[in-house]
Symmetry: D2
Subunit: 312 residues, 4 copies
């Protein structure tokens, strides 16, 4: 893809902007595209009654390290187990307890619109000083998704389309690729769709299958316009950051994020796992599903771990 500089991002951002489109107080962005009709149509895609988890385990086997990424992998600890009873009493039953210490962006997750911005302004023109405080996001928090994301999910299985197991490091997926893969799958994108972008990388790395080091493959910034034009409500990918990393030369590091989250108000999901779903889609030739995901109900949260499911 061509390199885009910061001014280019700004100009394209203005062009693709959804600010004000759903009211000056809107905090939901492209979720507004998921109308009741879209929800009903999504439910109608359920034909066989089978569901697939789209998350990786929220465990210590993540890519994070406080030393390098400033994030840590989820920590799960048991605090009571075996036959231990609750404190200080005799009980007829025994029970177990555990806890989770988790950065909201450290495993399969959604980015709240308050997660990323530039030029001091968040989606819909909120200033970061008043929108994202020490006490949580005042605007654009993850609670805007609290009723769940229920829409048609459309699997874009790029490596399978190319006849390979996974995309090589650095592979860039552009608008033409989206058209080609969807076309071959017999899917016509509709407003409100959730794009499920399979690169085959992160979930396979977790399984120890793909070891080639390198930059995560993903979308180019040019896909922002394609997504805007097709009325896509969310993009969820099985890589670290949806977009292709180390792909924009000396320009901004993640231009797609800047355009998508801040200008378009687009919901992004990252570190998904489409391996089982993709096998099923390849087997039955049906690349659409009912996608359902609901983030935890975290007041002021700027992201949430989530275990989305696809139902076919």
């Amino acid at each position: 893809m061509p390199v885009i500089d910061l001014d280019g991002v700004r100009a394209l951002g203005r062009e693709l902007s959804n600010w004000g489109r759903w009211g000056e107080d809107d905090e939901r962005g492209t979720l507004n595209l998921i109308t009741p009709e879209v929800v009903t149509a999504a439910a109608a895609t359920v034909r066989r009654g089978v569901s697939f988890a789209l998350s990786v385990p929220a465990d210590e086997n993540g890519p994070h390290d406080m030393k390098t990424s400033g994030r840590f992998n989820p920590i799960h600890t048991m605090t009571r187990y075996r036959g231990d009873s609750p404190r200080g009493d005799a009980w007829d039953f025994a029970s177990s307890e555990d806890m989770l210490i988790i950065g909201t962006h450290s495993s399969t997750h959604f980015d709240a619109l308050a997660h990323l911005w530039y030029d001091d302004l968040l989606y819909n023109g909120r200033h970061h000083d008043t929108a994202v405080t020490a006490w949580g996001a005042v605007h654009g928090s993850i609670q805007n998704l609290v009723n769940g994301v229920v829409s048609r999910g459309v699997l874009v299985d790029v490596p399978r389309h190319l006849g390979t197991t996974h995309l090589a490091p650095g592979t860039q997926v552009g608008p033409a690729d989206l058209d080609a893969v969807l076309g071959a799958a017999g899917v016509t994108p509709r407003p409100g769709d959730v794009l499920l972008l399979r690169t085959g990388t992160y979930p396979r790395q977790r399984r120890g299958l793909d070891v080639a080091p390198g930059a995560s493959p993903g979308l180019t910034w040019e896909c922002a316009r394609w997504i805007r034009d097709h009325g896509i409500a969310a993009v969820c990918a099985d890589n670290l950051a949806v977009e292709a990393l180390r792909a924009n030369g000396d320009g901004p590091m993640i231009p797609f994020h800047m355009l998508a989250i801040r200008d378009m108000g687009l919901l992004l999901g990252e570190m998904f796992d489409f391996e089982d779903l993709a096998e099923d889609c390849a087997a039955d030739g049906v690349y659409e599903c009912m996608f359902v995901a609901s983030p935890l109900n975290i007041p002021g949260g700027v992201g949430s771990p989530v275990n989305p499911i696809a139902v076919k």
Copy 2:
């Protein structure tokens, strides 16, 4: 309800037992009742395309206190906000981060089957020494729900049926009450249904509406048989523990839990919020919905925070 003693629980447990029913290695219990046909029928209940969150916020306003319950309320903290950029570099964008420290049973949650047992044995006869270790549940973990719970949800709005806003402390909901409320709602229970028991208590306490102290109202242990007979797959309630607390005299404290989780392998959800859903059901007279909930993907977890949704 009559008091049941430990031997009574044991005897009734043997009678209602689902051990071996779905194979000696089964770890999913009554989730097996949610067949593909049940899933498809659940999707078919979606008519208007509206969804409702069924969780309370995962925040500090919970009922827990390490001093009294040995649990703590969820802790959510921002770790980066306003215009701060990631560490040590110049960036074109700004972003925010946060984290969550959460006991898996401290907010709206599901109990894994490994969460509770008696006489040293868990559901399907697993011994606690090998099933629930310091490293997590080896059997009956929350990962058995990882593909999500998608089924027909049936709202049992007891207080509205009784013409009140919420049940008084100590109110016991028995099998005849379930029949009466469902009958009035025009709902015939079906195998695989998820029972959504509204008492009107905990969510209203959080809102500061109901202040009468006292024992949480809920199901009697006698409902276990009703649930077994009707093939209910899960019971989710808007109180602390599904069942009526302090209701069994000198007998076991939570006999319904003992029967449900350990003997029947029944999925229980607690601390739900049905306030919005209940308003809607009362308005349109439709008490069924597509219930979708997927716990976090926690290896060995004995519970999970969850934000279930109802779609109508």
Copy 3:
């Protein structure tokens, strides 16, 4: 005490300021008063070879609540116990593990100089934008105390001097009180001394002894000058915030903190427990000790839990 307004704090702060006194790059403030001679003299106060813990337990029985104070009490959980061995292997030994989740100011602790400021500037003129970032304190962190605080500790047992067990809510301790109590104890303050202010309140509240609700008693802002004049290196108190709370009318809430930490660079310790030490001092009539406290070695930390000890 007379009420002081913000301009009054500013003026007095300039007068008492230690900015530049130990160099323009100094981050240690009054710790500079603890010279090698002071350390040696402190060690020479050890006569009987007995030591006293000056901390309260770092446990759930603290005063904090996220709902009201935005802080939580320390959370300690076992993660392995009884005869469980490390994961996945046979071992000849068994071991236990635990973890601590702790706000650095939520139990007995020191405030780093980066913990509090006003007018955008911290001690020694550092601007908060560059001194206290999302990645920790760049200047004035707790690591400036990493070699420990070893000095003469001087117990100021105000309630015992007044013939009572503890100070009533709202009691203000002023410069004349300090002179009177120390004089009666036969102690002449020396440069580098650590003042150990006993009010008898918080540790007794933890023990369930004092239940009178009300504002924490403590120092008046006028003590700042006394402390400056006597070359005191640190003030540690057994209340929540060293100074008297709700004592300054419509003026700044904690003027002593503003003067002490920001202008004077004074080390403050809070939530200490002097009950055992005070008994001993009353018994042998010796109110000085070797005070030793070393915070955890936390890069960028703005405070640290600590268990200081007094050796006599």
Copy 4:
């Protein structure tokens, strides 16, 4: 060193046992050797009034990884910084906050006597079922050290004695080495001494200086008898586990730990940093100091992070 098998450990453990030596209820073990006279003599070693931190930073740069060691490195996060004020109000001052999530054995720390045992029994014959529960250590907790460890510290700088910067992987330090190094340093061990064992390894690895991979050098199990004979109260080392790792062939992995903690009730400190102290000792030829360390006041804790100091 010769390999010792489990029966050998048991036999030697009985021989070196301190069970019952300080009463059948004793939980302090060799800390009993630190008599008031020892404390006073320790204070008398302070001549120059200089102190040294003996800890490594409690940060993300530790050796732990949940995947391999089941422990995680300390996590320190800011939760308020820059000019943010406390929630929801106008304030005259600004302040910062942070928190620490830390395994008690994951940085410089002491092992409580409840941390390790074999044959189901802890120090002084406590059974693990009643001594180390889900609610913390009932016997042998870290609170037994709450008044601090104040004694003479004696630096055993093995690499410097050998004319090198650090010990090679696998190096075993036996009783004769202890005699040789101390003899050359002009130090005669005394009852109650704290042995400060410098290998030069872990702190240098943290600094990126020593990269040779391999088993941590340290004490042999034979040192247990030497330590018992000399009345040593504690051993603190700058490696991961005091003793030489992977040094006992097919025998127990850490026989010194088994003998020291469980049979002798010996206090062990690990992951210390003696680099600065060692430079100073080499410069002035004085290898003794006043050692002061006080663990956090954690009820039931089986270890504690600590920042010990040496004062000379």
